[in-house]
Symmetry: C3
Subunit: 277 residues, 3 copies
């Protein structure tokens, strides 16, 4: 499981086109570099098709969408899809406003995206469930716990089948569902939700992992989730040692991503795999 | 003074809608999380009313305003005011351009804002004084010092009475004036002006403090100023210990906010209160 | 060489107007403060001329350009040029899209810019060379090495003469060409390309250095390159000592800029100067 996935990223250095929010964009660029990818941010409609053409992956994140950038997202995704590039959608805040829910649904409905990554509230919003999103964070009622794990797996496998896209749902327990089965990932630390951008950073890393391992994107997406969680665990250890707080934690998270390799991931991952039933 | 104010933020975890500049937005989001709040950034006119509706506080910061976002600021503030939410205005760079001065004056004139926080040059620009703003920093002539403290208190009490809004003016000495009196706060460290975003971060923290303590917003605004100042003092100590510079200082500032509690604030604050005369 | 250049920045505290990308803008603002300058970011067409009028330097960076901000870049540059202010252009990603190449060429053709700073792929794209830009990073074929140093010097001296602007090309070896000659700078560390924004930060620091030393801008631009490289070396040492990664490196880089002075620069610089032949 996960054999050579990080090594492939570091060797291929995939160029990733990001149309992403301005809140976490600096951390997104830095963690992409840290994992071995190379970021380029471009959101002008006049250039997004050309930019995505020189890349091998596209990360669309609707965190601070507006009418102008929504157009760019669609155009870039159409082009990236036509070129067979890795395309990942992060529906930040779907459920929190009609604009976000509709935009995410429309982007998903194009069929251009190979992978979608969000928290359970966002994915439920796209599935039409009547749960309430708490802003950009998952509602407490939507947390994936050991008790409701089977139901959660069932839900995202259905979502995967309906939309023909790999689905990554992150929270206390993370799930990544592809056509053949579902990875259950128990890496990570609660402090990851005490900083902004953990999800955005993960989506970008996932885009790079999939772009460098295009023949096994479900596995690459799961490896990204496990790697990010492992980095969160290491960042937490360093934060405690330094008697530091959440500012330091964010920096240690990027540090950890720049230092991780396949061996460390193999030793530190806590992942099980359930074949599709 | 300041009893349970931070505890209330941590317990209520107020969701804060920020329409803020793209320069300091990541630090704003992270310090909001660090103090116990939860941020959501959204500036598209199509969604700001809906987004602010699910929040309990609105932070409007004009640091990188443009024609599109000015509309969104007005719409969000109208809605937040109608819902009785905490609303805080940060008139970044008022006095530095007609666009900024006019926008801040227009927003203030709506009556939608419960609190305004700026440096003395910005507040003077809104009062129509002919002082010169030095970009986004206060002009030296506008610094509040022990010598001109009485005049400064008089000025902001007049401003408070004229606009019926709590006024927080920050600098070497900080002043927070409400209808019943004025807090004088002597926490903080000069290194806070050697990084970008201290003011923006404070405004966001202030929004969360007020949103979680809506029955005593003058006191909550003053507590936010004192807490931020105390975090600046702690961050400076850590920076000196580490023989570090301003990059580290910024991170330590967020660390400190994630670690502060009401007891630390009670022990570290240097605050006096003058009743309105 | 470089006498009092940093001291002048710290004494004059030049206010720098930045129209820059939202990816690295926070680090740009913080490193401007760290070197002794003072940043103001403003990109609305309605205010850019007025804002640039109260500054002494203008930094135009096309990293996340769009139709709206391109207009603002032109208007601000026209005004800054008319006022005799320092004006520096950073053509981020020129060569990666027609929009970027055309915008950078158009801005350069105005004659408003005193200095242009980019990597070799970007400068080659502006010269009409048929090399390929790899996103926002220089193509490997464009790296300046000891072997092709003479050819690179010749190329940028021609570019300088053709466009009558100081040209700074950064990479493993950095070159800064003015009308009288070319500085060759061998400071820096490869880890600087493992984080986002090193180039953007350098351009901003260069603007401040030139604005505070307007009678010798080629020398001031070269001093900025050497200072940034030296800070990169120090940041690398601290990163190794702390067994840290690229997240820490970025912070240490800003730390180092806040601590550098003319004496440290004189002792640490590795710079030679070749008179124009």
């Amino acid at each position: 499981m996960f054999k050579d996935i990080i090594t492939n990223v570091r060797q291929k250095k995939p160029l990733i086109h990001c149309i992403t929010n301005y809140v976490t964009v600096n951390n997104v660029a830095n963690i992409l570099l840290a994992c071995g990818g190379s970021p380029i941010m471009a959101d002008a409609l006049e250039e997004v098709e050309e930019i995505t053409g020189i890349c091998s992956g596209l990360d669309v994140n609707i965190g601070t969408l507006n009418a102008r950038t929504i157009q760019s997202m669609e155009a870039a995704a159409r082009r990236a899809h036509a070129l067979g590039h890795t395309t990942v959608l992060d529906p930040v805040g779907a459920g929190a406003s009609k604009l976000r829910t509709d935009t995410a649904k429309n982007l998903l409905a194009t069929g251009y995206f190979q992978v979608i990554r969000g928290n359970m509230s966002e994915i439920r919003a796209l599935a039409g469930d009547a749960h309430t999103t708490r802003g950009v964070d998952a509602a407490v009622a939507d947390a994936v716990t050991e008790e409701d794990l089977d139901a959660a797996i069932h839900f995202i496998q259905d979502f995967q089948a309906a939309h023909q896209t790999v689905v990554a749902v992150t929270g206390a327990i993370d799930l990544v569902a592809g056509p053949a089965g579902t990875y259950i990932i128990r890496n990570g630390h609660p402090m990851m939700s005490a900083i902004t951008g953990t999800g955005c950073m993960l989506t970008a890393v996932m885009t790079a992992f999939c772009a460098a391992n295009p023949d096994r994107i479900t596995e690459a997406a799961a490896a990204a989730v496990a790697a990010m969680g492992l980095c969160g665990e290491r960042a937490y250890e360093k934060t405690v040692q330094a008697r530091a707080g959440t500012g330091s934690f964010c920096m240690y998270l990027i540090d950890a991503m720049s230092q991780i390799d396949d061996t460390m991931l193999a030793e530190g991952r806590r992942v099980t795999y359930h074949e599709q039933t």
